[in-house]
């Protein structure tokens, strides 16, 4: 294996939640609590977890939008937290971010053309006389009509806005894009267009993604590797294939078995975790999951389980932070197979054909107000 593009090493981030009158911290949120991973060029690592798992905080640390309490992030072998301002600027060119909300992340007073030209100017990516041309290329790359350059963000649908946000990230020719829930705000049919686009761009440009998401079915489609997070810690990492075929950690299993599957009669071994995610201000000692875990024993309440590979060393890439994972019963059918009749498969295939998936299909006219907004009451 070649040297990783990005390495996170023992990342810890505490936020002060409460201060005393004198300004002394009296409560801290341990948002990220010892997270390590590495990412190769051209790969997608998905960070999966529920609210409060720390997945977005990891994304912000990796981009140095915030500083860690402890730990390091190395990009191409260099620690990003010791970069000088000039080097940091250079790093900003290499690592970009796409947010969840395409409504809030684009400046409503700038035209799409200006939104895409600004990064070209700031980083002097191409000489001034070529900027316009480059801006048009960017629009085409993400499947938008170049004529859209003179329009404002509000004239676009959610999916198109997300394409603009992706084009803006691509403007500076990054090697890494952190995508924070990039499709969560989109409708299913639009979501698949954006996911296809992200995958195409990766293949074409050799991008690496950190894909932050709570949606396992999306992760399954987009990721090469998955890290499952719970309350600031990674509880399991594996290749996407291994994780979905053989989830080991009780939390991963519960997460998988909780995803609603579009198959009414599918038999599955459901595992519903009781209770809520504990407060990250006062996380339980030992394994963070022990209060909700059906397999917890005395040891789980005291000792923090570390990410460990399989004992016989067969699958080195699959690590699990659970004291008991080797003794647990088989996961059963957490994810039932969805059986479709040959006719239905053919009907479904009709939507994959007809130039639908090319990404350029979304080059839509924006001749009227977006009906999506108009139909929404109040």
């Amino acid at each position: 294996m070649s040297a990783p593009l990005l390495e996170a090493d023992g990342l810890v981030k505490h936020f002060v939640a409460r201060r005393s009158v004198l300004g002394k911290a009296t409560a801290t949120v341990k948002a990220v609590d010892g997270v390590s991973f590495s990412l190769a060029a051209g790969e997608t690592l998905a960070l999966v977890g529920e609210s409060g798992s720390g997945k977005s905080t990891v994304g912000r640390l990796v981009l140095r939008l915030i500083d860690p309490t402890e730990g390091a992030v190395r990009f191409e072998g260099r620690d990003i937290f010791s970069l000088r301002p000039r080097e940091l600027r250079e790093y900003r060119r290499r690592a970009q971010l796409v947010f969840q909300d395409p409504y809030g992340s684009l400046n409503p007073r700038m035209t799409v053309g200006d939104i895409l030209t600004e990064p070209l100017q700031l980083h002097n990516v191409v000489p001034p006389r070529r900027r316009r041309e480059r801006m048009y290329e960017l629009l085409e790359t993400v499947g938008l009509d170049p004529r859209f350059a003179r329009r404002y963000p509000h004239e676009f649908s959610g999916g198109q806005r997300q394409r603009i946000a992706i084009a803006r990230a691509l403007a500076v020719e990054p090697r890494l894009i952190v995508c924070d829930e990039p499709v969560s705000a989109l409708d299913v049919s639009i979501r698949s267009q954006v996911l296809n686009l992200l995958r195409d761009l990766q293949q074409r440009l050799g991008l690496a993604y950190i894909f932050i998401s709570h949606d396992l079915s999306v992760v399954k489609y987009i990721a090469t590797r998955v890290a499952v997070m719970y309350l600031g810690r990674i509880v399991e990492t594996a290749t996407t294939q291994d994780l979905f075929a053989g989830p080991r950690h009780p939390y991963t299993r519960a997460l998988l078995s909780a995803v609603p599957v579009p198959a009414p009669r599918a038999r599955r071994d459901r595992q519903i975790l009781p209770g809520d995610v504990p407060s990250p201000i006062t996380p339980p000692p030992g394994c963070h999951l022990h209060l909700r875990c059906p397999y917890a024993v005395e040891r789980c309440k005291i000792e923090r389980p570390l990410l460990a590979a399989q004992a016989d060393g067969q699958v080195q890439d699959h690590t699990t932070a659970c004291h008991r994972w080797q003794e647990l019963p088989p996961a059963g059918t957490a994810v039932p197979a969805v059986v479709r009749s040959p006719e239905l498969e053919r009907l479904v295939a009709a939507f994959s054909g007809s130039g639908n998936g090319g990404g350029s299909s979304d080059v839509a006219r924006v001749d009227a107000d977006d009906p999506r907004e108009a139909a929404r009451p109040g």
Partner: protein, 328 residues
Amino acid sequence: MTAPLLTIEQLRVSFSGDDGRTTRAVDGVDLTLDRGRTLGLVGESGCGKSVTSLAVMGLLPKRTAQISGRVSLDGFELLDLPDRELRDLRGDRLAMIFQEPMTSLNPSYTIGEQIIETLVRHRGLSHAQARSRAIELLRRVHMPEPDKRVDEYPHKLSGGMRQRALIAIALACDPHLLIADEPTTALDVTIQAQILDLLRELKATGKSAIVLITHDLGVVAEICDEVAVMYAGEIVERAPVDLLFERPEHPYTVGLLASLPRLDRNAARLATIAGMVPDMAAPPVGCRFAARCPFAEEKCRAAPPPMAAVGEGRWSRCIRAPISRLVA
């Protein structure tokens, strides 16, 4: 056969915008629902599913929304009912839970007070009776430590607990019809599983019919008996849940199923539905899905397709149905 619990006939809702354009959010919806059944109302943003439910609840702003058609519940004509009588029905026979439990609970009253209010208003219970019934209701929705939580304010509760509290309020008077608008969308996956479990439990008691509004076909498959798929203000397909997933009879339903990433296998590429939802201020003459449909022909665009039966208990608004022959 007894009359259905809920009958909706030719429901139309349109909104006039500031620019003088009229958007037809719901455009001729017909629906019936029998007692104790669970109906999934599925569709993407702007399809009119929420507006339909708000019209049933009588919660649309009268000044901007023009409503026509007929909505009948238990023999009450809801659209003609004076506000005062509608208020008697709401919270009693007719209850609703919303997506955002934080904004639908009143932040300045305890959970208990909000349940008690309903019971005193509709059932005329004394405060003490209502309080013990409130605790019982919280226990029924599996709120942890119900006798303590009853005096808690909404901000002290987690998202899942708030949704439980909201469901407890909705269930206070054993409604005949419960409308749940994306009840699990704002929740985390493991909490969603808990709430779906609770809804399944409610369903099993058979007391209330449920209309579950959602964009998530997975959720529909989990708990609904029947499904109505909406697109651009119209119902385009109606089927028992098994058949809808086995043999969808409208191309839009197929497109939705096709766009879902699969958990159980690796896909080379996701299918997509090309194009965009039509502008509902000026919808096309013919089939509203035709522009995005891989099976559309000239006659699809010529005239609005009627909702037609395609076999036992199911309807499709596609003139080419049964569509399986199109790929034979």
